[in-house]
Symmetry: C2
Subunit: 372 residues, 2 copies
DNA sequence: GACTTTCGGGAAAGCGCTTGCCATCCCCGG
DNA sequence: CCGGGGATGGCAAGCGCTTTCCCGAAAGTC
């Protein structure tokens, strides 16, 4: 018996389904959306049938309003096209999907003011959780913005929201229930990297870092320096540039000039071991620096060694292979999201929990390997 | 006169604001959220004041429900961590931001069934627009899924939604009002690339394509072949692999074997021009293939030329520079989004409009440049 | 067999906001 | 001086769904 498929011009509502099934909206709601109460099998069948016929799609907004939980996860990144963030985003997205939630995306360029705004927007949408990736800033001029961001987050948490922060705590945020942190051991890893590099490189070190106050960058720099110190080496000079390829390139040009000067001074003897090892605070900067060196006629690792941080996937095919620290970015995204959703119980004492442990791995490749 | 900042434990509602301001919720609504009617200045001031005191954040869900428009833009991609998609996502995000909308992200791996589900979810959330990036599939086994996807999209459009599709039309989708397409001239560009390559390369061509039925890939292959034909060259052999780095790598290994065989056969004479030019249907595959060749001891462009498609930003530092076709991905994302939002009027005749014009640019670099 | 428990279903009260409509009030021309 | 028109504010009816009661009936308990 073929039933005429009704193709409604407008989205049909629960009430219509209920009417068609000859039950009350309450019952229809109970059968179609998991409720504690399970209506009888006969009724259920009728309702489901009616829903199918009408092509019923529940109005998520209305549901959210009624049960004040939206099934939304907010994700805040600096720039979704940056491979660092898109890798994290993939992790977040995966978990969200598993948990039948949708992710709401906001990109802020790292400006605390924008981040605050994004949090507010997420709060307005009653997002169940917010994941903030991307370095916090400790710059004085951002102090204000940070404070507002922290306040906004606090309020969000106080209203029952959960926030997962990747990397380091939001400056000034309280130790609230619902506030989770996925700590990334930038400092230790950078120290470990420095140690390894110091073992094989006897010359100078120089660091290309992001702008002062970018915590991730600062942590990595500090870690690298302490690693150097532990190896009995003098502290490295730090060049500041913007935390992206362009910044790396710019700094790379400076360094090229410097190498050139050194060379002419020392009467170019062939086969000399490169005298400089560059540590860029992230892979993208490292690539930029490498490009700059190349543009000036220098080769890595022949004329300078170079290492980065993150082990961005797309960059693994870069030649010479970039020495770096592998960070499980996708996993980090997953963990940050899970900490806010999955373990509604996981951290019953919850607030500011030590959080899941993330480890990275120093990965040495050709870019820091001098071969005679 | 310092007023004690009231810090409400729960998010405050419009009604509370109204009460504090001594007006009706209607009025409060009118002043706080752009309404056609502008209440008097005195009242407005009081309401705004009250809202500030209470730290009022409108409940977007409720607003959406009441005015059935959510301020949401749905974005469907295969994989957000793929630089191709993340570049597009950036464009989408930008426009959304400009228009004070938020983007809702869904990743589907390209499965029509998942895409359909994503569309349904977006529809449930009453997204104002949906942008679908990522190749459609014309494979027979996806026909079913495609049909369902098309149906879901149709229904969404019929309910007043706007959808913007990147690349090629959804197979089987009707020519509906609210259905926009940003066409990417994959075929022409691939042909142009083939032409340029044919001009400088006299040997064989081989194509590494995605799985058969992936329209983007197929278009590029077809274009390349026709470009070859136009240059009086025989059609190239097509190797099929998955549309990502791994696929490229795999195919690259096969080709390496082939090159090796050819070499031993022809009694290795040094300095021979590479006999093979590889066209990979996208940059990531090209990189994979290049890595495979390298792993087998071959060098690009010494032993084989190679070209890709997309001009992924992160890959521009790859050495040797990868010949490719530059696609303005971010712009494509922007256009797709704008077509659904900005020009609510732009295409008043609207449906299936020719859409904005996207052009790419053949970009030759070292990877296809044989130097003696 | 009379009583307390379930249990399946419905009525209705919201969730927080927008908006059509009505009641005022003021300003102005006649 | 009075009536009409244009502002301006409030009332109340939803938007579509969930959920708390409540009620009748079926099922258990001595």
């Amino acid at each position: 018996m073929l039933v005429e498929q009704e193709i409604p011009v407008a989205a049909s509502t629960l009430t219509e389904v209920a009417r068609l099934a000859g039950v009350s909206p309450a019952t229809a709601s109970r059968v179609l959306n998991g409720s504690a109460r399970k209506p009888g099998p006969g009724v259920s069948e009728r309702v489901r049938q009616a829903a199918a016929t009408l092509g019923y799609i529940p109005n998520a907004q209305a549901q959210a309003l009624a049960k004040s939980s939206s099934g939304l996860v907010g994700l805040i990144v600096h720039d979704i096209a940056d491979p660092y963030f898109s890798a994290i985003a993939r992790g977040v997205q995966e978990v969200a999907r598993e948990q039948h939630k949708m992710v709401l995306l906001a990109t802020t360029g790292g400006t605390p003011a924008d981040e605050k705004e994004a949090v507010a927007a997420f709060a307005a949408r009653r997002a169940d959780a917010i994941v903030i990736a991307g370095s916090r800033s400790s710059r004085p001029e951002d102090a204000n913005g940070n404070a507002e961001l922290a306040a906004e987050l606090d309020r969000y948490c106080r209203n029952g929201g959960h926030v997962g922060v990747v990397g380091q705590p939001v400056v000034g945020a309280g130790a609230l229930e619902g506030y989770h942190l996925v700590e990334v051991p930038n400092e230790q890893l950078a120290a470990a990297l420095a140690g390894k590099l110091a073992a094989s490189h006897s010359g100078d070190f120089v660091i290309i870092g992001g702008p002062e106050g970018l915590i991730t960058s600062d942590d990595r720099i500090r870690g690298f320096q302490s690693g150097l110190a532990a190896a009995g080496r003098p502290a490295a000079e730090v060049l500041r540039a913007s935390f992206n390829r362009a910044g790396g390139y710019e700094a790379g040009l400076q360094l090229a000039q410097r190498i050139r000067n050194a060379r002419t001074g020392e009467a170019a003897r062939g086969g000399a071991k490169p005298n400089l090892c560059i540590f860029a605070a992230n892979d993208v900067m490292a690539i930029g620096a490498a490009a700059a060196l190349r543009s000036q006629g220098f080769k890595v690792p022949r004329d300078a060694l170079i290492a980065g941080f993150d082990d961005i996937e797309t960059l693994r095919d870069f030649r010479p292979g970039l020495s770096t620290v592998r960070l499980p970015l996708e996993e980090i995204g997953r963990l940050a999201t899970l900490s806010t959703l999955g373990s509604g119980s996981g951290g019953e004492d919850g607030h500011h929990d030590g959080g899941p442990v993330v480890t990275g791995q120093v990965t040495l490749r050709r870019s820091t390997e001098w071969t005679p």
